[in-house]
Subunit: 157 residues, 4 copies
């Protein structure tokens, strides 16, 4: 028994940087670092996206899966999949990124709603048994993030 | 009489951050800082575009006109006008920006060809009498750029 | 039984930022982050010392003790205690710092020799049972360091 | 005739990085960038001293002389000449630096008093005819500084 909420499934329209779609249910046993971003959000471009990529490169082999979710809630026409794809390539993003599913007539996409995110960038840490352990809106420093990721890695699944 | 090449006219499809189209011929008497960029070029986003904006804010009243030219030569579908417009707004770009005119069947747009630019970011300084005095591909540091802009400001028109 | 070397005792002439001298033997049960520095070593001043102070401020309550060791092995006359004291105050260092004991006729001080350090900055992590788990000469990034500190915090003493 | 105050002579006890003492009177015809610093002032170490060194390296051949004045007004025992000498060497300072002359029974040294400086870092620009054109206490950005230096270089002596 535990107190932490179970992380809801992602609702993704399209994936990049992965052969097959990713499903949270299949990631049990791994620590998941999920970051929600928009490709035209300065805080994401300058800080959160490169930070997520650093985590991916440093901790993938230790049992961490990093996932970006492109949660477009403004300027929808400006951030279509073709633009995101070029962004990921030009900015050297190699970790898997999914496009959050849009909902008919709604500005905020599905996963963003399900997780009740306040905006971008948002960083969410999910433990080995699939529970949300940290949800942070805004900038998070590397020292604290490295520690929180390791805290979850040190737990048995 | 002088040795510096006359700056060719810009060929622009659409302008942002200006009421009326800008024409180099009408800027005689002013120092023009022209920077060519792509909204998905990391060196532009992280360095050249914010630097151009700083010049605009510090030197506009001293007689400097800063112009961005969006010279898309790759990922054309990813950097359409609607995306550029959102980029300019989100990244706080307030100086005038023009979209370099595309040429039928050609990857490299018109002004970029006319100026024989090698890529983005490219910074071009044009003096008060309309001649090119500096053309720099890549990153330029603030100290040198501040000096070069002032060197041209100190010349009589 | 374990494979990691036991951390040798420190040999300190004078302490700053602590009421009483600190002894490694009394820190069992805590994770110890020990950083060797010189107040005129640029890599220390610009990176390692502020990083150590950040660890102190973020992790002291979680069970981490951060200790600076001033290991002067060059420019001895330039880095006397009176200069170190002013440095610590002006640069906002609040964690305990000890001056490594000099040895008669020797350039390299005692603790620096005992730990076989290569230079400054050097970062050493000591686990809850007093063993050396990491010894890093040069710059270490925040993400990796936060993770390594937490890895040791997650071990039972 | 002009309105700018004539820069007073420097009162220096000891010089580093120069064969012979420097005298402002002998620098007519050159633009002089004079920066007052203390080797244990963080704003100086992190920003003003490296900035002054950059100016020296970029503009020395264009007619700029950069001078550092070590104006110790606090922690006097901590910043003696032997410490300053090591600081200059370790931090890669190659431009001339003079130690501001102390006055009997006074905390603030002579040149600092004569120029009525408020603290460190202070940056002072002196034109080709020996007049003070800018006096800035605190941090100054590279873009503005590069421009101000060039403004004076563009004046005839």
């Amino acid at each position: 028994m535990h107190d932490h909420p179970v992380a809801p499934a992602w609702q993704i329209n399209q994936w990049f940087n992965t052969q097959a779609p990713l499903d949270l249910a299949n990631l049990r046993g791994r620590v998941v670092v999920m970051h929600a971003f928009q490709m035209l959000c300065p805080g994401c471009v300058l800080h959160a996206v490169p930070q997520a990529e650093r985590i991916h490169r440093q901790f993938a082999e230790e049992g961490v899966t990093v996932i970006g979710i492109h949660t477009v809630f403004e300027h929808h026409a400006a951030m279509q999949p073709v633009s995101l794809q070029a962004f990921l390539r030009e900015f050297g993003v190699t970790h898997p990124v999914g496009i959050d599913a849009s909902l008919p007539g709604q500005r905020v996409p599905a996963t963003m709603q399900t997780y009740a995110m306040q905006g971008t960038p948002t960083l969410i840490l999910i433990d080995r048994i699939g529970c949300i352990r940290l949800c942070h809106f805004g900038r998070m420093d590397d020292l604290a993030l490295g520690a929180e990721v390791m805290r979850l890695l040190c737990e048995s699944g």
